[in-house]
Symmetry: C2
């Protein structure tokens, strides 16, 4: 089954202790699409400016990403410039230029409206709500958000929660949204407001999925070389939703595996700048890392004494 | 098989957002013994002052902890006073009074010297080395350390590493000791200096065990109410080594289960002040939480497509 993603398509300039990248492909929609395209067909809705090097998206198109919903508007593209220090835990934003993205009003092409899986990447919750009015009873809606919207669009975000099945956010955002320092309490707060599942991402410390009274945890893969953390969260979402869309199944067993596929794709994304690594890998790489994840947490049943 | 632990026996005064405890049982030896006593017999070596309420250790004795190596010296007992803020992640030490502990020279009673499992809790590495000279070819030696010794006794600590099988330390200490920010690299650095296994504890974010080229990860249990984190690390060590001592097996499967038992015991320790919770629980509580841990990380093999 196909996935519709609505998110940003940007140009990133990133500095890490290991190198620099200038004006490379970035944005939540881009990372999500590159990641999810390993599992199923992806329909991308977003906007770029007249200066965007659209041909650089050809590798995504070659991977089956439908760019029919990518509008090219008069003006500058969304640009983000950031830096990671030695510990790589948090990005320091040096510059954000929204450009045409500041006037983005997602228009879902008719042929995208029946996509059974929908990911609302991190954009204004009012726009996320508008997208939901344009789609036709998807099987699963997931969304992401960020501190900026939690502060400035709290009421809209809480309205949005009533209409999504899965909320993905990081631990800091979960604490900010719910005003609970404890993540179990934060998750319960969110589950009471609409979503059936909440995924709390803790970066290098892994991710929790809370569902009703059950909880699942997947560690982040202990990489020796994290090159550039940009896009890890959206690549996680791409693996998670991409896998679910491929199988069309939403039971607990599939959801748990989806979280591990999410962690897997996030772990690849950080090995290179931009979506580079996501474009290099194939099914056997993904399967092999999934096996690594299994070994990482596996412990055997106790033998009878 | 029995476990010998050499560590501190102290009086803790702790403040958390949830309450206060004054002059309660504390110290690395105490927490370790309370935890490990659920698995096997424990021999404790340490020192207390003439003011120590020794009768308060009766519950440990009742659990089979041999206090024959607990010296009572003229002077004040070791006292620690600390506070945890809202996030419970790190203790703020308000006062440390070493008292008789500052002159501690561990003397291992003859009948303790053949203990097959030895845990050198967090004390001066020179004393940890002295303990090793007094014991007779243990099957497994594990040790803990802290930032203070990494700074002030670096050469002794590195000498000690040549003689231990397992080093347990937290992520900050691992980074400080090895000067590697990346934990995979930090672990490799340590494994090259003696230990066959290194366990890097990340508090609420779980624990890694590195062995040669393999790595195992156990999450911390996502508790809704963490009451007092004091002693979690030593309770982890107690579960880890206690379980290995009970089975006498040191293969990878047993070591992995031991890490989960460690996480289990750490998760109980933080539910009450001092060793209170460790004294309340029984085998069925431990088994039930171990099952919770299994469910927390379990994901099924993929069905054939």
């Amino acid at each position: 089954m196909s996935v519709l993603v609505v998110g940003s398509v940007a140009l990133d300039s990133v500095e890490t202790p290991f190198g620099k990248a200038d004006e490379v492909l970035g944005g939540s929609g881009t990372f999500f699409a590159a990641s999810a395209s390993h599992f199923t067909s992806v329909k991308l809705v977003g906007v770029v400016g007249s200066d965007y090097p659209v041909h650089k998206l050809d590798p995504l198109r070659a991977r089956g990403v439908d760019l029919g919903g990518l509008e090219q508007a008069e003006g500058e593209s969304f640009r983000w410039r950031g830096r990671y220090r030695h510990d790589l835990n948090s990005a320091e934003t040096l510059e954000t230029r929204l450009g045409v993205f500041s006037h983005f009003r997602p228009k879902i092409p008719t042929e995208f409206r029946q996509a059974p899986f929908v990911f609302l990447a991190n954009i204004d919750p009012r726009l996320q709500l508008e997208v939901l009015k344009q789609v036709e009873r998807p099987k699963l809606v997931a969304c992401d958000t960020m501190n900026f919207w939690i502060e400035s669009r709290r009421a809209d975000l809480i309205e949005l929660l009533k209409h999504v099945d899965v909320l993905l956010l990081n631990d800091g955002e979960a604490r900010q949204l719910t005003e609970h320092a404890n993540l179990v309490k934060a998750a319960r707060w969110i589950l009471q407001r609409g979503p059936r599942h909440v995924i709390i991402k803790k970066g290098e410390h892994g991710a929790f999925m809370f569902t009703g009274s059950t909880v699942f945890f997947a560690p982040a893969y202990p990489l020796e070389d994290v090159f550039d953390p940009t896009g890890a969260g959206d690549s996680f979402a791409g693996g998670f939703i991409g896998y679910l869309a491929r199988t069309g199944q939403l039971d607990e067993a599939h959801l748990r595996r989806a979280v591990v596929y999410g962690s897997t794709m996030g772990s690849f994304a950080v090995e290179r700048f931009s979506i580079q690594r996501l474009l290099e890998i194939g099914t056997s790489d993904i399967r092999s890392r999934l096996d690594d994840f299994r070994r990482l947490v596996a412990f055997e049943e106790e033998m009878p004494a």
